[in-house]
Point group: C2
Chain length 341, copies 2
């Protein structure tokens, strides 16, 4: 079938070549102290001459420090998750960690065994990108089974759970959502509608708080799926209603769907209708008209999640939070409410 592949070179091969014990080789590759400079050099030479590469399975099995993270997520092709994953990957590979990914189907319910069975071994470090029911459930299972080796990102009221600060990298969008809603209100809109992604996000709370504080009863939330198309469908009735002048959307994709629906309903943007999104995906700035949205630093969140995990694993100084805080970016899909006729 396939060409015979040569037997990989092991630590013993290197040891023999360098004239030392395999243990010394181990010390060298792990940067342990207590190795004479000359010995270290000899070993390193042997390593590169032989092209030796440590076997990670053996390392893990032997109980060394684990150098891998399993990321649980629900859709790697969504902008937010893709960027978060990217941030995790950046930080992880810089630290010499391998990243495994485990995609969970939102339509499915997983047993404890199914979730834990996706880890390479019991207790393997994990990061959960929790933005829906299924991943939130996975987070609970993992946190219960191995609290010392799991962190999560997410915004779905995770903070309300006890001790969340120890394991959560929150994308704090509640406040910006509130600010964004107030901005819309300040432009003369009598109310702001909210088109929601599946699950209840914190940004929705910000929206209703702002409304309530302005003495406005929040209108019913419009539920949408995750796709542009589902948003277009979900918003069809709303955009046809001339009373609706401002819509806040769960993310940029949904906003694009709403914009599409509004276009087909013959409403002009932002004259008849203001629309704002969340994420500031690259398309937001290049859409015509430019999408008013909230800049969310998913990549920074991913990086921070990894740093936090590593801190839990290896100790050391508390990592400082290092992601940009969310910020409203006003472009061209939002503006003053048209004076009522």
């Amino acid at each position: 079938m396939s060409a015979a592949e040569p037997k990989p070179v092991s630590m013993f091969d290197v040891a023999k070549r360098a004239g030392v014990s395999h243990q010394t080789v181990s010390r060298v590759i792990n940067d342990a102290p207590m190795v004479a400079a000359a010995t270290r050099a000899k070993v390193k030479a042997a390593i590169s001459e032989l092209g030796y590469r440590p076997n990670r399975s053996a390392r893990t099995l032997a109980g060394g420090a684990v150098r891998s993270v399993t990321v649980f997520t629900f859709d790697t092709s969504l902008y937010g998750t893709a960027e978060t994953l990217r941030g995790i990957e950046d930080a992880a590979s810089a630290a010499g960690f391998t990243v495994l990914i485990s995609v969970l189907d939102p339509e499915q319910t997983y047993t404890e065994g199914e979730i834990l069975g996706r880890l390479s071994h019991d207790g393997a470090p994990a990061i959960v990108i929790a933005h829906d029911e299924t991943t939130t459930q996975a987070r609970r299972i993992l946190r219960k089974a191995q609290p010392g080796a799991v962190v999560a990102t997410g915004d779905d009221k995770l903070r309300d759970e006890p001790g969340a600060a120890d394991w959560l990298v929150p994308l704090d969008d509640r406040l910006v959502a509130k600010r964004a809603t107030r901005y819309l209100l300040s432009m003369g809109h009598r109310t702001v509608h909210y088109l929601a992604m599946p699950g209840k996000a914190r940004r929705q709370d910000g929206w209703s708080e702002a409304l309530l504080e302005a003495g406005i009863e929040p209108p019913e939330v419009i539920p949408s799926g995750w796709t542009i198309g589902s948003a277009a469908t979900a918003a069809a009735d709303l955009v046809a209603d001339p009373e609706a002048t401002a819509i806040m959307c769960g993310n940029d994709d949904l906003a694009f769907g709403v914009l599409h629906a509004a276009h087909h309903a013959g409403r002009s943007i932002p004259g008849d209708l203001s629309v704002i999104g969340f994420d500031d995906c690259p398309m937001a700035a290049y859409h015509i008209p430019g999408l008013t949205t909230v800049d969310l630093d998913f990549r920074g969140v991913g990086r921070s999640a990894f740093e936090l995990l590593r801190h839990k694993l290896e100790g050391g100084p508390e990592p400082r939070t290092s992601w940009r805080s969310p910020e409203l970016i006003v472009r061209e899909t939002s503006g003053p409410a048209r004076p009522r006729s």
Copy 2:
């Protein structure tokens, strides 16, 4: 620091509980024949009572069939790669494989050791999503080191390499690119410009072939980066030129960039300028105007890549190709050339 976590249950624990040897447990979890039904049942019961889960590192180390794939790719947040990854993930997890991902920085050059060192162990199965120089290089290194355990997806003339059919899942976009170019020509455009992603893609060949066959000397290719913004910048001069009436773009994102630039240059679409992309990302259909593009089944390609890899690993019947062939989808950004004044 963290709560003490209980020692995981091993195969021996299960064996003791079921009153058999650990070997019999191994047979049961591997669905080996030669186990009495009653014994099998007893063992399964013990497994679920104890919540036993096999340790993958130990399995790998002991030389069992490898049940993981490492995916090498260059940017998980691009639509094409994200979808391909998703397809691999779907197929892999259905087959009980773990997927590891290794992101390569396009700006960087990697040594053989660096690439091979990202594998969990020598000879670990890998899939390379090769769309640029760096990943193509990784592909070469991996194919040389372990030809029996590497497949690749990609379109960058990979087919010209010897024996490519055995390890390549090609995204054959040369022909559609040709068809798309002919379509544009048939609409009366005197030539078609091409805005290229980094690296030379097969679709570019299709474009030039169509032009040549029509007796037209292909205009100079406009090089662009991978981002919408870079495309907008790269196309700025071209869209300002009234002689340019049709532009084909390396992918949808670039097309959006061109559309943005055209808008700012005051050119109307498709009246003054026809623009077409590649990918048919979800936004394409919802962009206003709808983007004419080529539907590429990245997810199917990813699935097929996994199936091909599995075939190489485990033998069995040749997997049949199972992705949709690319198809031109005409929407609203393309149309007849405006009659010359």
